[in-house]
């Protein structure tokens, strides 16, 4: 009983609760229209949402979608935020070693003639060998004989050599005309010689010098002078010293040099053209010639120092400083040295020396490095200093300023990749849309009308299917190359041609779908309602082909990007200066570049792959989402 009671009690309580609930719901329903409550409603999704739901469940498709969003933002939003454009050329300041001056150690002697006559002229070229003989004997003075003449070669200080005539044929006379042919004898000597020729004497002595007459031919008589010991005549001076004027424009006469050399390291003073000059000897083999007022007019240096272009435009001070360093290096046998001096500054862009308002060079104290070089046996010393020069920043490795470095034109690689992505993606889209429009129109007409129209269009499709795309593109591209079509025009043509060559696949797909859809009830209904043919095809048939179309378009995008990048890689697609992913890789296609600039081509190659993979993933995902029969 007790049990019964409790059950009754429970039942009553439940009834009461149900009644209460019923009341509540009634009250609610009074306000709202009658409908199925949420719990019992069958969840119905629209086809689009169903596809979306299935699509979102596919992991690979999501990965593809994320990749695509990333690539699109990189290509289309990236350039908005990225500070560099695709055609910004970057420069960098590089320290460049600029050769400023060259110092040559003379290998032969400069000869200065004191007495202009037959003997000195003839024997000038032998002086080098005279000096060599002298140095071989390690003597200071030596009697040398050549062709019946004899000379005394004397070694002076600082490589100054004096060649004195001991005995040489100084004059030559014409027998018939009875006058001097070669040489400038004094009037008295002239008379003596003429008398001797007249008297057919073979020799005579005049002022302590003995003369010998030699018959050289029927018409010519030579006069050989032989000087007694200690009375030899100084004829040639040979030296390696160079004589450079302190102020440019000052003409240095050979005669003056001869006089200076005669007195060099001896009296150190001489008179030339009535003016007094003194020689001031410095340490290290250099010297100066001062005029009577004490002003330096000529620098005497052991080396010939010129600026790098070979002009003698360097100041005496610089030469002296440079020569001192070279002297030291010669002594120490070292290959490098340095000194500092005021040198002109170089303009970075034009590689011209900078000048101030008055046209004077702007000088600045620079450290000059001196390097010894031997060029075909000649020793030269180059003085250079480093100049900061602005140059194009080619192939710079990744850095903070250029995340992926710069390419062979000084462009920023990342900027090129962004703009290249734009073109690659746009080409993909344009071509695929062209293909699709052509394909849908042709396929739609063929499928809907059937009969001979269908046969005709399908044969056309077969024909286009049979034409190979890549060879045709290569041929057309090589024609473009020959006609030098501008890059933008070329890009347009490329898209049109790719579109025209590629529509056959889409046309087949659309026709096949339409053939099967045409027989379905909804099309009969559409016909029954009296809709126009146009409307029936494009409003009722085509939307039903959309799923397959979207899938094939997505997959096609990847294919077009591959074709475009391959063409551009071969240099036949989009041309420099426009960037695409293909031609960025092409710019580093040589073996050396491939090895050294991996940071340029690898990211681009990976981006191409990612783009194509992403389109394929998404296309795959869409196919599965549209056609669930295949899955699960």
């Amino acid at each position: 009983m007790a049990e019964n009671n409790t059950t009754n009690l429970l039942n009553e309580k439940l009834k009461a609760r149900e009644a209460e609930q019923a009341k509540e719901t009634n009250a609610k329903q009074a306000d709202e229209p009658i409908a199925l409550d949420d719990a019992s409603r069958v969840k119905v999704l629209s086809p689009a949402r169903l596809v979306l739901k299935r699509f979102l469940r596919n992991k690979l498709a999501i990965v593809g979608m994320v990749l695509l969003i990333a690539l699109f933002s990189l290509s289309f939003l990236g350039p908005v935020f990225y500070p560099y454009g695709q055609l910004d050329k970057f420069t960098t300041v590089k320290g460049m070693e600029l050769d400023y001056a060259v110092c040559g150690v003379p290998s032969t002697f400069n000869k200065y003639m004191l007495v202009e006559n037959k003997a000195t002229d003839e024997f000038k070229n032998f002086v080098d060998s005279f000096i060599k003989e002298l140095n071989n004997d390690e003597a200071d003075e030596k009697l040398v004989e050549r062709m019946g003449s004899s000379f005394i070669v004397t070694k002076g200080v600082d490589n100054v050599y004096t060649v004195k005539i001991k005995s040489a044929e100084l004059y030559a006379y014409d027998n018939i005309r009875k006058e001097v042919k070669v040489g400038e004898p004094s009037a008295e000597l002239d008379a003596k010689i003429k008398a001797a020729i007249e008297n057919k004497e073979s020799e005579f002595t005049f002022e302590g010098v003995s003369y010998q007459l030699v018959s050289k031919s029927k018409t010519e008589t030579g006069v050989i002078a032989t000087y007694p010991d200690g009375a030899e005549v100084e004829a040639i001076l040979a030296t390696k010293l160079t004589f450079d004027p302190v102020e440019s424009g000052y003409k240095v006469e050979d005669e003056m040099i001869s006089l200076a050399l005669l007195n060099y390291q001896k009296e150190n003073r001489f008179t030339y053209k009535g003016a007094e000059y003194t020689i001031e000897i410095h340490e290290g083999g250099s010297a100066k010639i001062l005029d009577s007022t004490g002003k330096a007019v000529i620098d005497i240096l052991p080396y010939s120092i010129r600026d790098i272009s070979g002009k003698d435009s360097l100041g005496g001070g610089f030469k002296t400083a440079f020569a001192a360093v070279v002297n030291q290096m010669e002594a120490e046998k070292s290959r490098t040295g340095k000194f500092s001096y005021d040198v002109p500054q170089l303009d970075a862009d034009t590689a011209q020396y900078l000048t101030d308002e008055d046209g004077n060079l702007i000088l600045e104290n620079e450290e000059l490095a001196v390097n010894r070089k031997e060029i075909s046996g000649e020793v030269r010393y180059y003085a250079n200093y480093s100049v900061r020069k602005e140059v194009y920043d080619l192939y710079s490795p990744p850095s903070r300023a250029h995340i992926l470095g710069t390419d062979g034109d000084g462009y920023d690689v990342l900027a090129r990749i962004m703009y290249g992505g734009r073109i690659s993606l746009i080409v993909g889209f344009v071509v695929v849309f062209l293909e699709t429009i052509l394909g849908v129109i042709m396929g739609g007409i063929a499928g809907f009308f059937g009969g001979w129209v269908d046969t005709l269009i399908m044969r056309l499709v077969d024909i286009f299917y049979c034409i190979p795309t890549m060879p045709i593109m290569i041929i057309i591209a090589s024609v473009f190359d020959k006609l030098k079509v501008p890059p933008y025009e070329r890009l347009m043509w490329m898209m049109v041609i790719l579109g025209v060559l590629g529509w056959s696949g889409i046309a087949r797909l659309v026709r096949g779908q339409i053939l099967s859809l045409r027989e379905q009830e909804f099309m009969i209904a559409a016909e029954a309602t009296g809709l126009k043919t146009n409307r029936r095809i494009y409003k009722h048939l085509i939307p039903n082909v959309m799923p397959q179309l979207i899938v094939s378009m997505t997959m096609g995008l990847g294919g077009v990007i591959l074709t475009e990048s391959t063409l551009s890689y071969l240099g036949l697609g989009v041309k420099h200066p426009l960037a695409t992913w293909g031609n960025i890789i092409n710019s580093v296609s040589s073996i050396e570049a491939m090895k050294s600039y991996v940071y340029i081509w690898l990211p681009v190659g990976i981006l191409i792959c990612l783009a194509v993979i992403a389109f394929n993933f998404v296309g795959d995902g869409l196919r599965d989402a549209f056609d669930p029969k295949m899955k699960r």
Binding site: I463, P471, I472, I475, L562
Partner: protein, 333 residues
């Protein structure tokens, strides 16, 4: 069956006729300066050796291709000669197009065949395994790898392979047919073949890598379709072992579309690999044609395009016929 084949063959002839007409029209209508420039270049190149001058080249070009006859008449001239096997003399190679083709086709064929065999040996088993274990890690890996393979541009694969094997490891040459210091006259036949083979490794790898994905995916998709079929359920219900179900019932049915596809690609072995051969300088038909096309060698270009068209048509024909041969249901219909 015979009637079907004859009908298809006739259709192919018609399609070939019109496709070549289209190509001929394109080449015919290339801006005249192209032809003139080519003639000028040829004249400049050969004049030193006492060759023809510009006018003669132009005249020869016009006559040989009926450029002076108008498109239709010119096309028939070309077609008439082509049907007799006379494709003219290649400008670039200075020999008959067919002779040049005979000289380089076996390089292409060998390369293509090696790649084809490896492709089948790798792709089909992997595709079957992936389908058998759908949604497993194996499946995802195979799907990913095949998609990556499809997505990789040939030139990128070639570049990466060159970097790894030729530059970094130094095992193989970067391109060409023979090693730098290889002299064919001094080598035995075996050494010759060995050296050639060494140079075929990288191009073959590239081809395999690029084409493997498609076949793998195709096999997997078809295998999945077959595995969902009623007769597989029946076979399982009969209590057959899984091995028997997959290996015998499912695999044989999967082979129908796969064999059809592979049969269709067989003629392609003769068309060479345009890009791969060019990248590796393998003197096959692709490399030769690429250089011909780049240098405006019209006779060889026409020959190559005709060859490509015939091979494409032949591929379609073979795959249609194979479909009927392999699948009895088609024959009934």
């Amino acid at each position: 069956m015979g009637k079907f084949i004859v009908k298809r063959l006739l259709l192919c002839v018609v399609i070939f006729f019109f496709a070549m007409f289209l190509i001929y029209t394109l080449i015919y209508n290339l801006p005249s300066s192209y032809v003139e420039t080519t003639a000028r270049e040829l004249a400049a190149a050969t004049s030193k050796m006492g060759g023809k001058n510009y006018q003669e080249w132009l005249a020869q070009l016009n006559e040989q291709y009926g450029m002076n006859k108008g498109v239709v008449a010119g096309y028939f001239t070309w077609l008439g000669n082509a049907l007799k096997g006379d494709f003219g003399t290649s400008w670039k190679w200075n020999m008959a197009c067919t002779a040049k083709f005979a000289g380089c086709i076996w390089n292409s064929f060998t390369l293509g065949l090696v790649a084809f065999v490896f492709e089948i040996l790798i792709a089909i088993p992997l595709g079957v395994v992936a389908a058998k274990k759908q949604y497993s890690i194996t499946d995802y890996t195979v799907t990913c790898v095949s998609l990556i393979g499809i997505s990789l541009p040939t030139f990128f694969v070639a570049t990466v392979l060159k970097l790894i094997f030729a530059i970094n490891l130094g095992w193989l040459d970067i391109g060409g047919m023979h090693s730098k210091f290889f002299i064919a006259a001094n080598a035995t036949q075996w050494e010759n073949i060995l050296d050639l083979g060494k140079h075929f490794i990288l191009p073959a790898m590239t081809l395999i890598f690029v084409s493997i994905g498609g076949l793998m995916r195709y096999t997997r998709t078809n295998m999945l379709e077959v595995l969902n079929a009623d007769y597989i359920r029946t076979a399982r219900a009969k209590g057959l072992s899984e091995g028997k179900v997959i290996g015998y019932h499912a695999f044989r049915n999967t082979l129908i579309p796969v064999v059809t596809l592979l049969g269709g690609t067989l003629p392609g072995l003769f068309s060479g690999a345009l890009i791969t051969e060019t990248l590796f300088s393998i003197e096959g038909i692709g490399y030769v044609s690429y250089n011909s096309m780049i240098s405006g060698d019209i006779p060889f270009t026409m020959f190559y395009l005709a060859l490509m068209s015939v091979l494409t048509l032949l591929g379609n024909l073979i795959s249609d016929i194979l479909y009927a041969v392999v699948d009895p249901r088609v024959r009934v219909n």
